[in-house]
Structures are given as structure tokens and as C-alpha cells.
């Protein structure tokens, strides 16, 4: 704020400044209120995660915990084998992101840079797979993976990611098509192979798009509940969403909301981290493309 003041004397006369101020103030307050409203559920999540089981049942709910039950954060590891679930989810999400990036970027590169017979036909066919809802392929896919004896392994959750996904391919293709042809011509003149051009020219220039795809793939895999439920059966292979759904599974008991909130807080960490990292990529990406 002080720097603004310092530069002001060079700006418009003070009368004008005063006329604009209320508008600015109103928008500032509006923003502040909206932020507050947005953060409220998040606040209650953290606050509930620190309440005792008895306090969680209270109505009206307390704003801040009366007694801070920090032990909830260690209890969760005992009630849910939280560590195992977390590790499983990370492994599956990690491979899924890697697989999605690799396959989608490769296919998208092909669609963006080569013209061939039936090019459009294949692309439309690819896009039309987006219209198939998961339940429609659920059972045939299950039969397939069950014949391959992949039931109760991570494979059905990881391998499909290595075969691309229509939406991500579409997204990346659009981005790859905007890259100037001259760059690739220059690469070709220097004797660069196609795969090397993909790796050293197309990929580094597409950081923002790749970051977006990585976030999508991570969130999709991290939140997925139905596929792990279908394919995993032993508790030491369950993922975080399955474990969390099981916390509210009993029809006969009060769900341990406080522990569920602990799990939610901890489950948020990788997504927030990834977003923070990817956001840096976004900004860098914009800077890079700006130079061109």
C-alpha cells in the first residue's frame, strides 16, 4: 500500500482519486466477504478435525474447539491404516499422472503435427469416446481385467492411463497446434528425430498445458472412488477415498465426522501442493510464450 502512495503524486489529481476510492473500497470489501464465505467450509473442516467425538455432536456447533483434540491426527492412523491408504493413493495417482502425460502428449503431438488420410475421422472417433459414460464400459472392462487376473491389483487403476484419454489429448493437441512450424523446421535442419523434437521442443514449450493435464489426471485419480471399489478387495490395497467412504459406511453408528475431517484435511495436502507447483509452471509458461 505504501508504494502506491509514494508513486501517487505523479498520478491524477487528488479530486479524481477520491471519486474512484469508494468503488475500490466496495469491491475490496466484496472480495473480502466472498473470500471469507469461500474459506468458511474449509475453516469448519479444520475446526471439526480438532474436536472431540462428544463435541462434534453438539448443537449449535462450536466455532472453535473447546478442547483441542490434536490426538485426532494420530488416531486416524490407527482407525484407518491411514498411512497405507495414503501411500496406495499416491502410487496410483503418481503412475496415472505419468501415464496420462506420456500417452496423451504423444498422441496429441501426432494429431497436431501430421496430416494423414483419415486424420479427422480418427480424431472425431477419439473425441466421441468422451460421450461414453463409465458405467457403460464398467462391466466389460471388469470382465477383461478379471480374465487377465488383474483383480485386486493396482493394474486396472494404472494401466488405462497409459492409453491416453480423449479430453487430455484434445487439450494438448490444441496447444501443440499453436507452436510455430519454424521451430520444428529448425530442429529438422539440425538433424533432430521426430521423437527428439517432441521431447526437446514440443514438451518444454507446453509446460502450462502439461501442468493442466497433470492436475486433471491427479485429481481424477485421487478422487476416484468407483474404480478402486470395483477392483480392490483387500484392505491393504484400498485407496484413500475407499477408506474414507468406509468411515461413514455403518448404518448402525454415528459417523466419526471429526476423524473424517482429519482425513479430508490430510487428503487435501497433495492437491494443494501440486497446484502450487503447477501454478509456477503456468506463470513461467506464459512468460515463455510471451517471448515468442
Amino acid at each position: 500500500m505504501s508504494t502506491v502512495k509514494a508513486t501517487r503524486p505523479l498520478g491524477p489529481p487528488s479530486r479524481l482519486r477520491r471519486r474512484f476510492k469508494p468503488v475500490k473500497l466496495v469491491s475490496f470489501i466484496t472480495l473480502l466477504l466472498t473470500t471469507f464465505l469461500m474459506l468458511l467450509p474449509l475453516f469448519f473442516m479444520v475446526s471439526t478435525s480438532l474436536k472431540s467425538k462428544r463435541e462434534m455432536l453438539k448443537f449449535p456447533p462450536t466455532f472453535l474447539p473447546e478442547s483441542w483434540a490434536w490426538s485426532n491426527y494420530t488416531d486416524i492412523f490407527e482407525t484407518l491404516q491411514f498411512g497405507t491408504l495414503y501411500k496406495n493413493s499416491l502410487i496410483i495417482a503418481g503412475f496415472s499422472v505419468f501415464g496420462t502425460l506420456l500417452s496423451s502428449a504423444l498422441v496429441a503431438y501426432g494429431f497436431a503435427r501430421y496430416r494423414g488420410r483419415g486424420n479427422n475421422f480418427w480424431f472425431i472417433l477419439l473425441l466421441s469416446t468422451m460421450m461414453l459414460p463409465y458405467p457403460a464400459i464398467m462391466i466389460p472392462q471388469f470382465v477383461l481385467f478379471s480374465k487377465m487376473q488383474w483383480i485386486d491389483t493396482f493394474l486396472p487403476l494404472i494401466v488405462p492411463a497409459f492409453f491416453g484419454s480423449a479430453y487430455n489429448i484434445f487439450l494438448l493437441r490444441q496447444f501443440f497446434s499453436t507452436l510455430p512450424e519454424e521451430l520444428f523446421d529448425a530442429g529438422r535442419m539440425d538433424g533432430c528425430g521426430e521423437l527428439r523434437m517432441w521431447r526437446t521442443i514440443a514438451l518444454p514449450l507446453s509446460a502450462p498445458a502439461l501442468a493442466t493435464v497433470a492436475i486433471f489426471a491427479f485429481i481424477y485419480s485421487w478422487n476416484d472412488l468407483l474404480t478402486p471399489v470395483l477392483y480392490l478387495s483387500s484392505s491393504d490395497k484400498f485407496t484413500l477415498p475407499v477408506g474414507m467412504a468406509s468411515l461413514t459406511s455403518s448404518r448402525f453408528r454415528i459417523p466419526p465426522w471429526h476423524l473424517l475431517m482429519v482425513a479430508s484435511v490430510l487428503a487435501m495436502v497433495p492437491i494443494v501442493t501440486l497446484f502450487a507447483i503447477a501454478q509456477k509452471q503456468f506463470v513461467e509458461g506464459i512468460v515463455l510464450t510471451g517471448i515468442k
Binding site: L106, Q149, T153, L225, I254
Partner: protein, 462 residues
């Protein structure tokens, strides 16, 4: 040009190789798990290849259901040729996983109707194994396991038995002793034969405890009457919405009477608790106090709550003193309680029905049933001998009261419709949706019930 084509082809090849190799790399993590699935398909590859057999028990992933895992080691010791594997899913996904497992040729051997679908639905979809021959061959007798004969009949259709009852939940009344004390009202009786304990008596008591205030923190209600699923509630007042033949032919009623004056009058009496007598909370109020699937009774805002006996299982956590009482008499001399009897079922696609039956018998023995009460945190057994242990399970509640309430509820009990009527999950969803405007006071029963009647008959015909 030719060169380029070539390099393109190489690129493609390389890409394929890369993908395949990364797939293989991905395998590393879960490879060891592959063996588990393999043993599912028959004699399997574990231990001696001659006789050993693996059966799977599919259940809900919650402590009160997965406790059976702790019983497996003892069972496997006495039955060295049988291995038991527990498969599980969260409650909400229970049905869809089961359907997929069966469709995918990976049917579990033993399960129960723990999801939304009920016995009749399984029966009509031809998912269940007829146990009659197994029972005959084995010489299984219900009385050896202290299972009351009338409970065995629930899962018998046309003389064929399809399930062995294992747990029995009844309807009971829980009451908040602190609230009764504060209002100076005497506690309700646990004896079902006490003729003074009527629906009207309950309403009078509830009026004394109800406080409706602008301050939501001070508001409290006398009674919350959630007796059974919505379509079953008229039965409490003696009105029968489904025709008699429903119970003998596998759950397909030939007629329903949801628009009859008796049924409408019965619903009216229940909604009067909310809108006329004002002793019960509206559904919006309940949700705002206790959240989507919460219960305002647990928050200490309700004096008396009529519901399933599973509510007892959480009793030790309630922040107030609690008692159990009989469900008051509502005008039906025969029925005052709903029974929710969970059976153990063998699925039709089971590859080892005999071994599965051995496992079921083991779960039914008095010793295991008694053990299960503690392990599950209070699942009520059907075994009448083990039930004595169950009555003593709850801290601060008189075992004598629990016993009286249970025995009365069984005597005046009726098996829950959700186990006995086909396509029940659809009927239930429809009821929740259609009755919503009545619950919020936007429509009358006279407007809604003919619609419900029409929709029920459509669903049943599916």
C-alpha cells in the same frame, strides 16, 4: 520424404515400446497381488493342490461387519481345507460392486443383503442358491443353533430355503432420561403388555417436553417417530398397503392400496405429529441440526426416538443418560415393531457351496455368535442363547429393559418390507421423493398418495 516416413514409423514404434515398458514398470507395485486373485478361481495355488478351497465372504467395509475377519483364523484351524477371504465395499457402493462381481464371473460365495437391495430383489434376479438340498444333506437343524423357527420362515419361499438368519434388529424406543427428568415426566415402560402405553399417551408426554423457540439452541421436540421405511408405516396403525399374497410368492404384490382412506388416515396421523400437534421436528429442522444423515436425537434435541435397535450400538457415546422402552400401541393388535433379520446367503454362482455352508454354520454356533457381539460392537444375534449376552452389552442401560423390549418386539414384530418386496430400492427412492413435499408442508396427502399408488404399481411390474 521417404526418410521422414521412416523416422515417423520409428517414432511410432518407439512410442509403443515406451508405453509398453512403462506399463511393465507400473506392474512392479502390485505384482505380488496377482496371486491372490488367482486363488479365487477354484482349487487355487495355495498350499496343497489336492483339496484346499478358497471361499469369499462379501460384506460392508465397516467395523460392525468386517469383524468376521477376526473369526477366520479359528475357523481355518478347524477346517484346514477351507480358506476364507473377506471382500468388502463401502455401503453406498455395495450393490454396484456385487452386480459387477457377478456379471464379471467373480461371484463371491457368501454375502447378505447389506446394501439397498433386499432379499426379494436378489431372489427375483435369480442370484441366490437354493439351500434346501444342502440343509437336508447336512442335517442342519435350526434348533441346534437356537434359531427360532419363525425366523427361518422369512427366507423360505414355496418351501425352499434361501437364507440362514444371523442378526436380528427390532424397532424400539430410545429416550433421553435427562429430558424426561427436566420436564418431570415419568419414564415410558419397557413392557409391551402395559396397556396404558398408547400412541396418544406418547403424544401427551411429548407435548410436555417440546419447546419451540426462536433460539434454535433452545428448541427441542418430544418425539421423532421414524418407525420403519416410509411405505411400511401405515401397518403400525393397522392399515395394510400391500396385498396378502406378497409374502408368499417371492415379493410381488398383486395389489397395493396406497390411496385407500385407511392408509391415508394412517399417514395423516404421523404427519399430524409435525404439523398439528407440533411435537415432532420437520425434516428441514432435523437436517439443519444434525446434518444430512445425522440424527437430532443424538444431539440431545429429542425426548423419544422410535427407530431400529442399531441405534443402541452408539448409545455409549451419547452425551446424556439414555433408556429403552416399548413402542407404544398404535391400534394394531398384532404389529408394533419392525424386524430387520439379516440372513447369510450363498450366491448361485458360488463354486464351493458346501464349503460356504460350513462357514455359515460356524458363524451360527452359539460360541461364535456370543463372541461376535463384542467384536462387532453390539450386533444382535438371532441365536436366543447368545442373545442373553447381547442384553447385557450396553453400559448404563438395564439389561432387564433391553430383554423385555426385545422379546416384546419379536412377539409384535413384522419382517421389514425392504427384505420382502421386489425392486425395493426403487420403491424406497420413489417414496422419499414423492413424500418430500408433504414433509415440508407444501402438499397434502390426498394429492400425493394417488401418485404414489400409480408409481408403486409401475415399479412392481418391472
Amino acid at each position: 520424404m521417404k526418410n521422414m516416413m521412416k523416422s515417423k514409423r520409428y517414432a511410432l514404434l518407439l512410442a509403443t515400446a515406451l508405453t509398453v515398458s512403462s506399463v511393465l514398470a507400473g506392474c512392479g507395485g502390485g505384482k505380488s497381488a496377482g496371486n491372490v486373485a488367482a486363488s479365487d478361481s477354484g482349487a487355487g495355488n495355495t498350499g496343497d493342490p489336492g483339496k484346499q478351497v478358497t471361499i469369499s465372504h462379501y460384506t460392508i467395509d465397516s467395523e460392525d461387519r468386517t469383524f468376521i475377519e477376526k473369526l477366520i483364523p479359528d475357523f481355518e484351524k478347524t477346517h484346514p481345507n477351507i480358506k476364507v477371504k473377506v471382500e468388502k465395499a463401502p455401503y453406498e457402493q455395495f450393490d454396484s460392486k456385487l452386480q459387477t462381481l457377478i456379471a464379471g464371473g467373480n461371484s463371491p460365495d457368501v454375502t447378505s443383503h447389506y446394501g439397498y437391495g433386499g432379499f426379494a430383489e436378489y431372489y427375483n434376479k435369480d442370484m441366490l442358491l437354493d439351500l434346501t438340498d444342502l440343509i437336508k444333506e447336512d442335517g442342519f437343524k435350526a434348533q441346534d443353533y437356537n434359531i427360532p423357527e419363525n425366523l427361518m420362515k422369512i427366507y423360505t419361499v414355496n418351501g425352499h430355503t434361501y437364507g440362514i438368519p444371523v442378526n436380528m434388529y427390532v424397532t424400539l424406543m430410545l429416550y433421553n432420561k435427562d429430558m424426561f427428568d427436566a420436564a418431570g415426566v415419568s419414564y415410558p415402560p419397557s413392557d409391551y403388555e402395559d396397556k396404558s402405553w398408547t400412541f396418544d399417551h406418547m403424544v401427551e408426554d411429548a407435548k410436555k417436553m417440546t419447546i419451540v423457540s426462536d433460539d434454535i439452541a433452545k428448541t427441542q421436540y418430544g418425539v421423532d417417530f421414524t418407525w420403519a421405511e416410509r411405505d411400511m408405516r401405515p401397518l403400525y396403525f393397522g392399515a395394510e398397503p400391500y396385498s396378502e399374497d406378497t409374502w408368499t410368492n417371492g415379493g410381488v404384490p398383486s395389489e397395493t392400496h396406497f390411496d385407500s382412506p385407511e392408509v391415508i388416515a394412517a399417514y395423516q396421523k404421523l404427519f399430524d405429529l409435525v404439523f398439528k400437534e407440533k411435537v415432532s421436528p420437520t425434516s428441514e429442522w432435523s437436517k439443519s441440526v444434525a446434518g444430512q444423515n445425522g440424527d437430532p436425537f443424538v444431539a440431545g434435541k429429542i425426548g423419544m426416538s422410535i427407530g431400529g435397535s442399531w441405534n443402541l450400538a452408539g448409545a455409549n457415546d451419547f452425551p446424556f443418560k439414555i433408556g429403552v422402552a416399548a413402542v407404544p400401541w398404535g391400534g394394531n393388535d398384532k404389529v408394533r415393531s419392525t424386524l430387520f433379520v439379516d440372513p447369510l446367503l450363498i450366491l448361485k454362482d458360488s463354486k464351493h457351496p458346501k464349503e460356504a455352508f460350513e462357514w455359515i454354520k460356524y458363524l451360527m454356533t452359539t460360541e461364535v455368535q456370543e463372541k461376535s457381539i463384542e467384536l462387532s460392537g453390539g450386533n444382535p444375534p438371532v441365536n436366543t442363547e447368545a442373545a442373553e449376552v447381547y442384553y447385557k452389552h450396553f453400559d448404563g442401560i438395564d439389561p432387564g429393559d433391553v430383554k423385555k423390549v426385545y422379546e416384546g418386539a419379536v412377539k409384535y414384530g413384522y419382517e421389514s418390507y425392504n427384505h420382502l418386496i421386489t425392486n425395493y430400492s426403487q420403491i424406497n427412492d420413489m417414496f422419499i421423493n414423492e413424500l418430500q413435499p408433504v414433509e415440508t408442508g407444501h402438499k397434502t396427502l390426498e394429492e400425493v398418495m394417488p401418485v404414489i399408488q400409480k408409481k408403486v404399481s409401475e415399479i412392481i411390474k418391472r
